[in-house]
Amino acid sequence: MNPHVAVIGVSQTRFEADKGYEAIIETVFKVVREAMRDAGINRDDLDSIVTSSVDLWDGRTASNQMLTDVVGSIMKPESRVAGDGLGAVFQGMMAILAGASEITLVVSQCRGSMGDHYEISNWVFDPIYQQTLGLDYLSAGALQANHYMKQFGISQKECARVVVKNLRDAQNNPYAQVAREATVAEVMDSPMWAYPIKEMDAAPISDGACAIILASQEEGKALSKNPVWILGAGSCLDSHYLGDRDLTGGDALIRASEKAYAMAGIRDPLKELDVAEVSAAFSYQELLWTELMGFCGRGEGAKILQEGVTSMGGVLPVNPSGGMIAGNPVTVAGLTRLVEAVLQVRGEGEARQVRGARRALAHGTTGCCGQGQYVMIVGN
């Protein structure tokens, strides 16, 4: 294994329900400068920039244009990914692997508070057919939830345990928006939104931003005493139409994770990974994604959670940060998972540190019900 791309700087904001006290450019400037400080570089060292955001969440067209000043891209090449921040990392990696860039900034931002999350997510769908019938991220998620839960006999209470675990662990994460001791009964009693998804099963609406600095092998070694390397990476897209997919089968995530494992030389992810940060917007998704990434057999996600395998202190802790249940600035979620994975491998996870973590998985998803899937393995 001879890794080619290093992560030499990371930064994230605290996730909050409403950052209306500062402009988006203010938030992004802070997070970009902090990532540069963490990497020990300045703006002149940057060869290229990749941003991730979505126009409808930003309320304007080609919305990355508002970020030019604060991501340092004046007179530099910048590209933009209209989707998850972990997808943007693939774009940044490509620039480095192509030899076009030695040091690349990847930054993602979203303001959930600016618009109406589910009103906007309705616009993800075909305006002629699907959208008219009210499909949005919530109702589509509920279709997938039932499909999965019926197939494997998973109960709502078992999904509720994901929420309890993540809210509890989020108390160790200073960047979390929601963090507290909760009970299964509380989750079960929270208002029904779209059967079987209840209010507490869903990630909150959040504001936040994240930034990382990628470096080539040479620059990574030169700039960082102990760089974190991208050991494996896989991405895969499923069909757009929900009705064309096997909603529980999750071929896209199986393929993305197998690709990443093969690159990183991982045969048994449960044993060989030390920690995983997974993008799950709803409680059931954490169970489903962990199965599809091979942490356990199909239908066993709830079982390994119940046994403590995926809890702090377990064989493979999933989402020590609290995951998206603790904060969910839509497109930022996947990049946050990578930042958390890097902090774990560096041993800088503070109260949420998984002891001795050497290999960490970061998972991101874009579109509805995991249409697009991204998996990265990082390690020393």
Binding site: G20, A23, E26, G59, D69, G115, D116, E119, W123, P127
Partner: protein, 158 residues
């Protein structure tokens, strides 16, 4: 149903996109509009490194990649650096009413500012507009703290 694709159009579905936002203006726009409303002054911010006075005011100088610094009053007089006359109707965002055509629009470099800002010119006749002409901001009597507080820029003789 018979269709002659040569003559009949295929189905087109009218879609009206209506979304609601609350844009976080941030501290710099907040002060800019508050100052305009309360005192009628147009304020820019200065970059401590390149010393350019930027408009609209903003937290960061993108060229120097540093935080901007002190506030500086600019204008209300300035110089037209680019202009046009608009002959298509435009619904004025600050009033919700169509602006009478033709009307002038320009990039105006206010005295003391580096950045030129776009705004409406009182003069709409392209024969009477030229680059380098001097103009002055005309503010409304009752100001609300938005860009509509500047009605337009009028031509001045100096």
């Amino acid at each position: 149903m018979k269709r002659n694709s040569q003559q009949e159009e295929l189905l087109r579905v009218p879609v009206h996109m209506k979304l609601h936002y609350r844009f976080p203006a941030g501290a710099h726009y907040d002060k800019f509009f508050e100052e305009m409303k309360e005192t009628g002054k147009i304020m820019g911010v200065k970059c401590p490194e390149c010393e350019r006075v930027l408009l609209p005011p903003r937290p960061v100088c993108g060229e120097c990649f540093v935080r901007t610094g002190e506030w500086v009053q600019v204008g209300p007089k300035g110089t037209v650096v680019a202009y046009t006359s608009i002959y298509f109707p435009f619904v004025d965002g600050t009033t919700g009413k169509p602006r009478p055509i033709p009307y002038g629009a320009g990039l105006i470099q206010l005295d003391g500012a580096y950045s030129a800002i776009n705004h409406i010119l009182e003069e709409g006749d392209p024969e009477k507009l030229h680059i380098g002409m001097r103009v002055e901001a005309v503010l409304t009597e009752e100001r609300e703290g938005n860009i509509g507080d500047i009605l337009y820029f009028k031509t001045i003789e100096e």
